[in-house]
């Protein structure tokens, strides 16, 4: 690990922009922070251009606060709304072709294991439902089949939000959306169930209405991925803009989903359970 890259040369410390001074002084790099500590430290995500009340950006904020060692974390994403917030995070973030994130992450993780055999470099995929469940599904599943030691986090807003509100595989049946003018004809893709039968050793389904659970899930998923294999966290991050509800209703929408199709669920192997109990 290297906090050196967040250590300014003394001579230049003064001339850094304010946000960097804050990151250096109060960022989460040197002592561990969690979701609980939000509001008391300088977050690694700076301002972002997400819409007011955006569930995705809340999800990003929460997961960014939950990273067990942000100074050794690399995030791999894909085009979509999540890009906008993730690009502002104070860590390495890669974003290339739509849907290739789990393949990029696999290559990256393996190379970092070669180059830093004695350091845990956490490679975390953070992407939307379109990137993971539609166009990148095969690459997602194969990273799980192959037991890559990466964490995959889906920010599920149940729509292609960034391109203007099209039906995604994770949209709910019956939803009328762009490209589904008569309502979606098939159910939400059961990616969470897929994860169970495709080799993930730990998985959580959660919503942004339960921030502490999000924090715990992300942290566990990353720690488990280091030791055992692929892990998956699916976070419901409702989109007020495309689903046309008022921005202050995001958490209510998420909360209601918790009683309905987005109940909290966790799965883990016994091995993993023992490991987590020890932590």
């Amino acid at each position: 690990m290297s906090t050196k890259i967040i250590t300014p040369v003394d001579e230049f410390a003064d001339c850094l922009p304010q946000e960097y001074k804050e990151l250096v002084a109060r960022g989460p790099y040197r002592e561990p922070r969690s979701v609980e500590d939000l509001g008391t430290f300088k977050e690694i995500i700076e301002e972002h251009p997400h819409c007011a009340g955006c569930g995705v950006s809340l999800g990003i904020r929460l997961l960014a606060a939950a990273l067990p060692s942000p100074e050794d974390t690399l995030i791999v994403g894909t085009p979509g709304c999540s890009f906008f917030g993730l690009v502002q995070t104070a860590l390495n973030y890669s974003n290339t072709a739509f849907g290739n994130q789990n393949a990029v992450a696999a290559g990256l993780k393996r190379m970092l294991q070669i180059r830093f055999p004695h350091v845990h470099k956490d490679v975390v995929v953070v992407a939307g439902d379109g990137g993971i469940a539609d166009i990148g599904l095969d690459l997602t599943l194969h990273s799980w089949f192959r037991q890559e030691k990466i964490t995959t986090i889906m920010l599920d807003n149940e729509v292609y939000a960034n391109t203007g509100g099209q039906e995604s595989g994770m949209s709910r049946q019956g939803r009328v959306l762009n490209m589904a003018p008569q309502g979606k004809r098939f159910p939400k893709i059961p990616v969470f169930e897929m994860a169970k039968v495709s080799g993930c050793v730990y998985g959580v389904r959660v919503t942004v209405a339960s921030p502490r659970k999000v924090g715990r899930a992300v942290r566990n998923a990353i720690l488990v991925a280091r030791e055992f294999g692929p892990t998956y966290v699916q976070i419901f991050t409702p989109c007020p803009t495309n689903m046309k509800f008022s921005p202050n209703q995001t958490l209510k929408v998420a909360k209601e989903a918790e009683k309905d199709h987005y109940t909290y669920e966790e799965f883990l192997s016994t091995e993993v359970a023992t490991y987590l109990a020890q932590l």
């Binding site: 050196k4 040369v9 001579e11 230049f12 001339c15 922009p17 690009v87 502002q88």
Partner: protein, 203 residues
């Protein structure tokens, strides 16, 4: 290769002009430097940089991440050498702490960004800008944009092979070379080169 006829001069060069490398300008070999698109002995270039810095109305150094952050051995010392040069040249420092497209925008008074370096040049009315410690790709992108849209005279102190789109570029710049440049500036200043009017000095 025959020497290129193409001169790399301060802009504004116009609407998306080609990169100098595509106009036949080649990078210097060890011991050489590029001044306005022509290969010259390195010593000549040191001299030209000193002249440009001292004649400038508002010279500004743009240190990049490679010297701003104490990420590896030797950086602190190199940074110190950069600051000695800044001091000798009576220049200011505006950092390039990272390369991301920043939301909602950069504050051009306090930082420079390779994707739109022209904003910082315009805002601060910089007539001579010096790049140091910036990854080559980002330096090249920035230098091209500056030459396309502003009249700033750019100097690149590169740790690798140099930059065709800067008006003056040194290659393989290490701490020792920085110190040699500082000496050249000091010597010229002592000789009493007249300086253009205008506010300067470190913030």
């Amino acid at each position: 290769m025959t020497a290129s006829e193409y001169r790399v001069l301060p802009g504004p060069e116009g609407y998306l002009p080609p990169a100098a490398a595509c106009m036949g300008v080649t990078l210097p070999e060890p011991g050489e430097a590029l001044v306005e698109g022509k290969i010259v002995p390195e010593e000549d270039a040191l001299q030209r940089i000193a002249e440009k810095l001292l004649a400038a109305r508002n010279p500004v150094f743009f240190p990049g991440p490679l010297v701003l952050w104490a990420w590896r051995e030797g950086v602190a010392e190199k940074a110190k050498a950069v600051l000695e040069l800044v001091e000798a040249a009576g220049a200011r420092v505006i950092p390039m702490p990272d390369y991301r497209p920043k939301y909602p925008m950069i504050n051009p008074a306090v930082e420079i960004n390779p994707n739109h370096p022209n904003l910082t040049i315009w805002h601060n009315r910089i007539d001579v800008g010096v790049f140091v410690g910036v990854h080559c790709h980002y330096a090249n992108v920035a230098l091209k944009i500056i030459r396309g849209g502003t009249d700033c005279y750019t100097i690149a102190l590169c740790g690798e092979m140099g930059h065709e789109d800067a008006m003056i570029t040194l290659r393989s710049v290490d701490t020792a070379k920085l110190r040699r440049l500082t000496e050249a500036v000091k010597a010229l200043a002592q000789a009493g080169l007249p300086r253009a009017a205008g506010e300067h000095g470190r913030r």
